[in-house]
């Protein structure tokens, strides 16, 4: 194959461990002139995208069956992405290319997807940043979507190396002005067409009409109203132009504390109870001001807490729940488990996989999020309570918890359109600070801030566990809300029992997938979302297996049923013999890998993957291990 130096030895056996192992030695690479000439692969630019710098004769490593191949090509950097233009895509056949990402190719890394760049100098791996004095022989790029790229620059001209490396570092690390983000040049270069009917399109929640539609859909319009008091962001920049508040609430109240201390409607349950969120009032020391705040809040509470007709329960998410820092720390540890440089590393970490997972605490955080959402669901569904989520700015954990609750309770949110609308409503319009949380502008002082908040939402779809945490009384709430409400917060034992009963009873009944849906939250049930996290790791691929195997059977059957349906229809209408079979999407599922269609990377051979690292010490069982299976009778020897 063109430009491919095939090199053996997946290197599981090497004892000393340099930070980078070179699998391709120069003499093993075909330097036949003809072969080195790259096949011209054209760079696909989006409207408004510009080529910034490039380097040729770059070798990209492709891992296959614990060997690595090198593929020659051109490495380019545009104002949108880093792209490798090589020949290795040609191996894919129709089955696979059918599910190709049309914007971002297999060898494209968008600039904002770059997580960490490493250079390899004399077999040593170092993080690259800022101005470089010396340029590396190899470039390793870890992406935020967990891909890992290895580029060898040894055969590239020196000036080109300098240009591409410093170009990539600059464009992925230097602080950026908002107006320089690629999407603006892209948007000016393309036409924007807007969607219409909320039934078939994502609801954007940027008009009063959208909110009214949502109120109507959830039958929340009895008690809640959409307001335009923040039109033009007169009151507050954090809040959307239009939002929903309790009907009795006066619009002046919204202005009083710039939108703070106002219960903002998220969603209404079929029984009339509502999910609301509120950003906390500024913290004050002064007794007088506190008194004013208290009486303001007392008035506000009357709009949602009117026993015996309506009762509200407050969930303080900034005090009693996860901290954003915790989530960020856990995710940084967790993602590291999937950014794997080579086969050796994969098998070395395999033996202690479970404890590594546990020490990241990520799955535990997922569980706690799910548990909180189930607790809230219980209050709304079984106890008919309004729930008020309270957080400093009501734009982080509020987004997370309220969307989880809606996914569990509202089947509409489990449709594609419904889910997109939910993200738009709770996260985009809910004022989640994506720019800061993802640090899109790379302000180093802000150090990547808790950016993975939206991930628990996407992960939680799989399955779940339990972990009790005490709900302690928060003094602030006590001060602000008065005794009556803090009483409700206090009764944690009772809540715990209610939760258990609700959870157990739901799980003991057959599941209605179009109704309330509660995840499992027991230890063994919360697992790594393999399709996302393992998708780029060749060692983790099950050739011809995984869930895709059953899914493709299901799709085949659906096609068959549909074509039968059409045949019957045609019989009825024209009584002629039906047409040919419709084209089949996923034939030959034996060839698909378990990661299909999320990763295009394919193992082309059917050789098994063998663990290269061995056994971990048994510890206290060593003496057992030494025993004979059976008493060997030496008599007959």
């Amino acid at each position: 194959m063109l430009g491919k130096g095939v090199v053996g030895g997946g290197g599981g056996t090497k004892a000393p461990k340099p930070s980078f192992v070179s699998y391709v030695r120069p003499e093993e690479i075909h330097t036949n002139e003809k072969e080195v000439t790259e096949k011209e692969v054209t760079l696909h630019l989006l409207p408004g995208e510009q080529l910034l710098c490039e380097a040729s004769t770059v070798l990209k490593y492709v891992q296959e069956d614990s060997c690595q191949h090198g593929v020659y090509g051109r490495l380019v950097c545009t104002d949108f992405k880093i792209a490798f233009l090589g020949d290795d895509e040609s191996a894919l056949d129709n089955d696979e290319t059918q599910f190709k990402n049309k914007v971002i190719g297999e060898n494209d890394i968008t600039l904002h997807c770059v997580d960490q760049i490493y250079g390899v100098f004399d077999e040593k791996k170092k993080t690259l940043f800022g101005q470089l004095k010396k340029y590396p022989e190899k470039l390793i790029i870890h992406c935020k979507d967990l891909r890992v790229f290895h580029f060898c620059l040894r055969y590239t001209k020196e000036e080109e190396v300098k240009r591409i490396v410093s170009g990539i570092i600059h464009h992925t690390q230097a602080p950026k002005l908002l107006k320089r983000l690629f999407l603006f040049s892209y948007a000016t270069a393309t036409q924007n067409n807007t969607a219409a009917d909320p039934k078939n399109h994502t609801v954007m929640f940027d008009t009063l009409k959208d909110w009214c539609w949502e109120l109507e859909r959830t039958k929340g319009n009895m008690k809640y109203k959409a307001v335009s008091v923040n039109e033009g962001y007169k009151v507050c920049e954090r809040l959307p132009a239009y939002f929903v508040v309790p009907t009795p609430l006066a619009e002046e109240d919204v202005q009083r504390f710039q939108g703070h201390g106002i219960p903002i409607w998220c969603w209404s349950c079929h029984n009339g109870s509502a999910l609301l969120k509120m950003s906390a009032l500024p913290k004050e020391q002064d007794d007088g001001i506190l008194q004013i705040q208290k009486s303001f809040l007392d008035g506000i509470y009357k709009t949602i807490h009117r026993p015996p007709y309506e009762i509200v329960k407050t969930e303080d998410l900034s005090g009693n729940f996860l901290s954003l820092q915790e989530i960020q720390t856990a995710y940084s540890k967790f993602k590291q488990l999937f950014l794997i440089d080579n086969s050796t590393e994969f098998w070395d970490t395999d033996i202690k996989w479970f404890s590594l997972l546990e020490s990241s605490s990520w799955l535990d955080i997922i569980r706690r999020c799910l548990k909180k959402a189930i607790e809230i669901t219980e209050c709304m569904e079984a106890q008919n309570m309004n729930i008020l989520l309270l957080e400093e700015n009501a734009s982080d954990l509020c987004c997370l918890i309220s969307s989880l609750v809606q996914v569990m309770m509202d089947p509409h949110c489990r449709t594609r359109i419904g889910f997109q609308s939910l993200v738009q409503k709770e996260w985009v319009m809910g004022g989640h600070c994506f720019l800061d949380r993802c640090n899109h502008l790379r302000q180093s002082d802000k150090e990547e801030h808790q950016r993975q908040l939206s991930l628990p939402l996407t992960q939680s779809k799989s399955s779940p566990k339990r972990g009790f945490f005490r709900e302690e009384t928060d003094h602030l709430i006590k001060n602000l809300l008065g005794k009556r409400i803090s009483k409700l917060i206090n009764s944690s034992d009772e809540l715990q029992d209610n939760f258990r009963e609700f959870y157990d009873s739901w799980h003991s009944k057959p599941t209605d997938y179009h109704g309330l849906l509660l995840p499992h939250i027991e230890g063994p049930e919360i697992r790594v979302w393999a399709q996302r996290y393992l998708r780029w790791i060749p060692e983790a691929q099950i050739l011809g297996g995984g869930t895709v195997a059953t899914m493709s059977k299901l799709l085949e059957m659906m096609e068959e049923v549909q074509s039968l349906q059409e045949k019957i229809d045609e019989r009825h209408h024209s009584q002629e013999d039906p047409q040919a079979e419709p084209p089949c999407l996923l034939r030959n599922s034996a060839r698909l890998s378990s990661l299909f269609p999320f990763a295009l990377l394919q193992r082309h051979s059917s050789k098994p993957i063998l663990p290269t690292s061995g056994w971990k010490a048994l510890g206290d069982e060593e003496d057992l291990a030494k025993r004979e299976d059976e008493f060997v009778d030496l008599g007959d020897v």
């Binding site: 546990e358 027991e522 663990p611 056994w615």
Partner: protein, 566 residues
């Protein structure tokens, strides 16, 4: 799960049902109606008790002891402890206890196992499933290089081997006898499986009796060379010793050992680092500790890791993958042994065969595989399980077969369309591994079974399964001939088998049936209905060509219904 009449499968309904029933029975006097009984099952005693349920607290009820089961639950070892409180009424507590131990451990009280009393009748005879001659014929044996020998007809050569063996054509029966003297318990290398195309083979045996002095046996050396030469392309025979190398070395002290390459020039030896039966037993005990009665919550993953159970599974699978790969690639024939060749060896050969030969992935194929590699080749079921024996601390016990079934389950998880059978099939095998309702897993070897006339006096588990096959079928099964399955033996993919190990815990309830399977079944039904309707339409069209169709539910009416499915 002794009392599982197989129709009631779901653990929870079972648990609850039995509880409900027994509490009702506290009032009713007539007992014969109260408990389900198998033909041949007789009630010994019954008593009112309080069942101390670890999940739901104390429950008043009645316990029945029959010669098969304790109703209100269980015989031996499936992750449950049953604790009962009995009211003090004279000596009745002691009586109950004595009766229970008598019937739970019949062998210790010179009573027969229930399998010999069971009078169940099935319309299929499971004992006919495995016929060694037929199975070898299916593999294309005998051929030019391999012959069937009856040297062990009366179990004289090796009392733990089957009567019928497949050996190299060029090795005479006398050769075999001489080799037997050099192999632990006379378990000589014999063929398990032959590759239909490249003719490389999997051969199984026990360790050579090398001993401390490094004894040699020319006949054994020559015999292995003959095995290698059955395939001309091969320069070296690959030997997989399942043990960790330190254990293999240590076994020399008790007369065992391994084939060293300075003596066996044309062989290459690899150790697979799989631990012994004692390590496996302790590992499973630890699994039980973290799942019963409460699932370890706060540190589930690290506790799971500390049991090492999945690590052992990983090593067993890794070993089997290597065996399968060697044979499938045609690089070499493979000889597998451990110490005696009836535990780890059976795991490795049967798993490798499952990977290589799609026949074994069907229901009957799998039954044949178990019957062949485990039952006929003398996996010591009786000692490993301790059927009817009260000595529960016996060092001979070990969950080796369970571990094998767990490996199969892991494979079926990774390849959900490759197996004809479903999870229920694997669970029912394990349930009856312990239940003693069937003769299938009784005794240690074929010769003992023959002496006890097991096939005449007991019912086979395969009778129960094969007379009701539909229940054990995987709807996604796609028959693929000649496809080698290599599971990924990484902790990233191995899972604790929750539906088996934690099925009694009402908190841990898997979605049953799984939604994708449910949807698939719905579509299957829909397809069948459409095909029927299409046939009807065709029929109607051919009879009344001109008339419009007047079927009660027209397809346009069907459409919206179907759409909700998609």
């Amino acid at each position: 799960m002794a009392s599982s009449s197989t129709s009631k499968y779901n653990s929870h309904s079972l648990e609850n049902e039995s509880i409900k029933r027994t509490s009702r029975d506290g009032v009713t006097r007539d007992l014969s109606e109260a408990i389900p009984r198998l033909p041949g099952e007789t009630l010994i005693t019954d008593k009112e008790v309080i069942y101390i349920c670890p999940f739901n607290g104390p429950i008043k009820g009645r316990v029945y002891i029959t010669n098969y089961r304790l109703y209100l639950r269980s015989l031996e070892m499936d992750m449950r402890n049953l604790r009962f409180a009995l009211k003090q009424e004279g000596h009745s507590r002691r009586d109950m206890f004595e009766i229970l131990t008598r019937y739970a451990f019949p062998l210790a009280h010179s009573l027969p196992l229930f399998a010999f009393l069971n009078e169940e009748k099935f319309n299929v005879d499971g004992w006919t499933v495995y016929n060694p001659v037929e199975e070898y014929r299916r593999q294309g044996l005998p051929n030019h290089h391999w012959r069937i020998t009856f040297i062990n007809k009366c179990y004289e050569l090796c009392d733990t081997y089957p009567a019928l063996l497949v050996v190299p054509y060029r090795a005479s029966d006398d050769d075999l006898r001489r080799v037997a003297t050099f192999r632990s318990r006379n378990r000589i290398p014999v063929l398990s499986w032959i590759h239909p195309e490249n003719k490389t083979v999997i051969v199984r045996c026990s360790q050579p009796l090398v001993g401390m002095s490094g004894k040699r046996n020319k006949d054994d050396e020559k015999y292995l060379d003959i095995i290698r030469e059955t395939n001309r392309q091969i320069s070296k025979l690959t030997i997989y010793d399942a043990r960790p190398s330190v254990n293999a070395v240590a076994n020399k002290a008790t007369g065992g050992g391994y084939e060293s390459d300075d003596v066996y020039h044309n062989a290459e030896l690899f150790f697979l680092d799989i631990h012994n039966i004692h390590v496996m037993r302790e590992s499973l005990k630890k699994v039980k500790d973290i799942v019963y009665p409460n699932v370890e919550e706060s540190h589930w993953l690290s506790s799971l890791e500390s049991t090492h159970w999945l690590e052992h599974i990983k090593l067993v699978l890794t070993g089997a993958i290597q065996v399968a790969d060697k044979v499938s690639s045609g690089k070499s024939s493979v000889l597998v042994h451990c110490s005696d060749g009836w535990d780890r060896t059976a795991q490795l050969t049967s798993l490798a065969m499952l990977m290589l030969d799609s026949f074994y992935r069907s229901i009957e194929g799998f039954e044949i595989l178990v019957q062949k590699e485990w039952i006929s080749f003398g996996h010591k079921f009786s000692s490993r399980i301790g059927h009817g024996d009260k000595n529960h601390t016996d060092a001979d016990r070990s969950p080796i077969f369970l571990q094998f079934i767990d490996c199969v389950w892991q494979m079926s998880k990774q390849f959900p369309t490759a197996f004809e059978f479903n999870e229920r099939f694997l669970i029912i095998i394990l349930d009856h591994l312990y239940s003693c309702r069937f003769g299938t897993f009784l005794f240690n070897c074929e010769s003992a079974r023959e002496r006890q006339q097991v096939t005449e006096r007991t019912v086979s588990l395969w009778s129960l399964i094969n007379s009701n096959k539909e229940k054990f079928k995987n709807p996604f099964y796609t028959k693929e001939i000649n496809r080698v399955l290599y599971p990924v033996a990484s902790m990233r993919h191995l899972e604790l088998w929750v539906n088996y190990y934690i099925r009694w815990n009402p908190r841990i309830k898997q979605q049953q049936p799984n939604p994708v399977e449910q949807r698939y079944m719905e579509l299957l039904a829909l397809r069948d209905e459409y095909i029927k309707r299409l046939e009807e339409l065709q029929l109607a069209n051919s009879t009344k060509l001109s008339e419009p169709p007047t079927s009660p539910s027209s397809p346009s009416q069907m459409m919206p219904h179907v759409q909700t499915h998609f």
